[in-house]
Symmetry: C2
Subunit: 303 residues, 2 copies
């Protein structure tokens, strides 16, 4: 199960009733945070989630509303006596930006690791999931991210039996290992059915609509997308500031065939995003104007 | 009238129910903020006060919980199209620290001015008030601040009449100007009574008790002082981390003959500071365990 919590839904500046946009995901003991603006650590605590399992923080870009909460988050993690390393992922310049911010957080008792993004797209693989970073179109270099969990096919006992494979080797094959026994090679494909549908969450903020988003969000279970403006007459403003309207986000959701879209990163001038959703749902029916703390528990399909 | 609002009362890290310690004062169109941790701009907005009048931000020291909110605050001020300069006051290193933090807030449409503190005490004078900075005792260089408003004596009409001074000059003398007329010199003292009691607010956090605090808080209308720990058995911990217990703060309030003391900068481990106030008030009766947003309107004495 993949736990997803959109900790905040604000853009530009934090407000008393709206934290800055940040996404926390929990899967198999891992914690992945995307963006960490001023107050993100409070939003997390308000939600009742701990920062301890966070082992990866991804940054879309280095505008303050997406990273200003990092020094405080690092210190809070340090105060909890964390020792495990923390991997930071973000556009080129990551180490320089983080080092500058650490002028007020110089001493932390765990290691920071850096993965700087330089290409149009990157795949960062972990044993049980991968992150896909893809460049989007803002007024500074900015990336979107997909969290992708693949799921192998069902173990087919009859095939294993037919091959004469002892039960003790089944588990390793199921986990993807190839096994050599007495000169014979057994690959997972020999005992597994067709790969089953996995899980995918795509997150993008601070961008105009792009092909890279549509491609990367293709078939996502959840597409979390910026919607800076709900008012239809703000399209020009969205273009100028390299943001999106709700309708542009919905068009991408439709093109990408996602299951569900959550809008986020609202302008401080937009207190009631719900007001525009009727029109948005004409473009993409499964669209939700997310509010702070919106949670989903994404489960693998039963079959 | 001097408006005072203790925006937050937390130390170390912001919590869902407690902003980081920060003091906002408003006087005669000026806004003075002391400390600006993560979330201070939200606390200010929650209180309904605008950041626009802030023309001075003082920092006690550069631990993150006292300055991590600065980049966001600067950007929010900039988004409100501020053009007037902002004076920053803090220990030596101020410009280096602020410049580092501005890696995520490089473009702001107003000037930053820096006043770096290097001595044991500094007086920074403005036309209608002054700030007194005084070194305290923490594990890094740290200062406390007093906001001091002096008040001249009452204008004594009979003296002005006796001197044969025309009415048009009265106002200038009352404002402290010296006037020369036909070879005669008229000073404010010639027409004003004894200086009347002004207003003083003293603020200090992140320190052991010091003589400098007692001296500088002497006779203050309001003394805002850190109380990291309420539990009497945490004195050793307070000593170790260079903080104070409630009782130590109360002893200083008593020695300094202040009118009222507000405790602040509570440890995250201290959810209910009120529990310890009975004992604290045995030392200094006018002691209050402040909560976020506590406000006072300090008025000049009527006489």
């Amino acid at each position: 199960m993949l736990d997803v919590c959109l900790l905040g839904t604000g853009g530009m500046m934090p407000l008393p009733y709206r934290w800055l946009t940040s996404l926390m995901m929990r899967y198999n003991g891992h914690g992945i945070l995307i963006d960490c603006g001023e107050g993100t650590q409070i939003a997390l605590k308000e939600k009742g989630w701990s920062p301890n399992p966070i082992d990866i923080i991804c940054f879309t870009h280095y505008h303050a509303d997406h990273i200003s909460g990092l020094p405080g988050m690092l210190l809070t993690m340090g105060n909890a006596e964390r020792t495990q390393p923390l991997l930071l992922i973000g556009p080129k310049g990551l180490q320089r930006v983080v080092s500058a911010l650490r002028v007020i957080a110089p001493e932390i008792p765990f290691e920071l690791q850096y993965c700087e993004l330089t290409e149009n797209s990157h795949t960062i693989s972990f044993p049980d999931f991968r992150l896909e970073a893809f460049k989007v179109n803002h007024n500074v270099v900015c990336y979107g991210y997909s969290m992708v969990i693949e799921r192998c096919g069902r173990f087919q006992v009859e095939k294993a039996v037919k091959l004469g494979l002892e039960k003790q080797y089944w588990g390793r094959l199921q986990k993807g290992e190839t096994i050599e026994l007495d000169g014979s090679v057994y690959t997972p494909e020999m005992v597994l059915g067709e790969p089953r549908k996995g899980l995918k969450v795509t997150y993008t903020t601070d961008t105009r609509p792009t092909e890279s988003i549509v491609t990367n969000a293709e078939g996502a279970d959840l597409f979390i997308c910026e919607g800076m403006y709900g008012e239809p007459d703000k399209l020009e403003k969205a273009r100028e500031h390299k943001h999106m309207t709700f309708y542009e986000a919905a068009q991408m959701a439709r093109k990408a065939n996602v299951q569900e879209m959550w809008l986020t990163h609202y302008s401080p001038s937009l207190p009631r995003p719900e007001e525009y959703m009727e029109e948005v749902r004409k473009i993409f029916p499964n669209a939700i104007a997310a509010r702070d703390g919106r949670t989903a528990e994404l489960k693998f399909e039963e079959k």
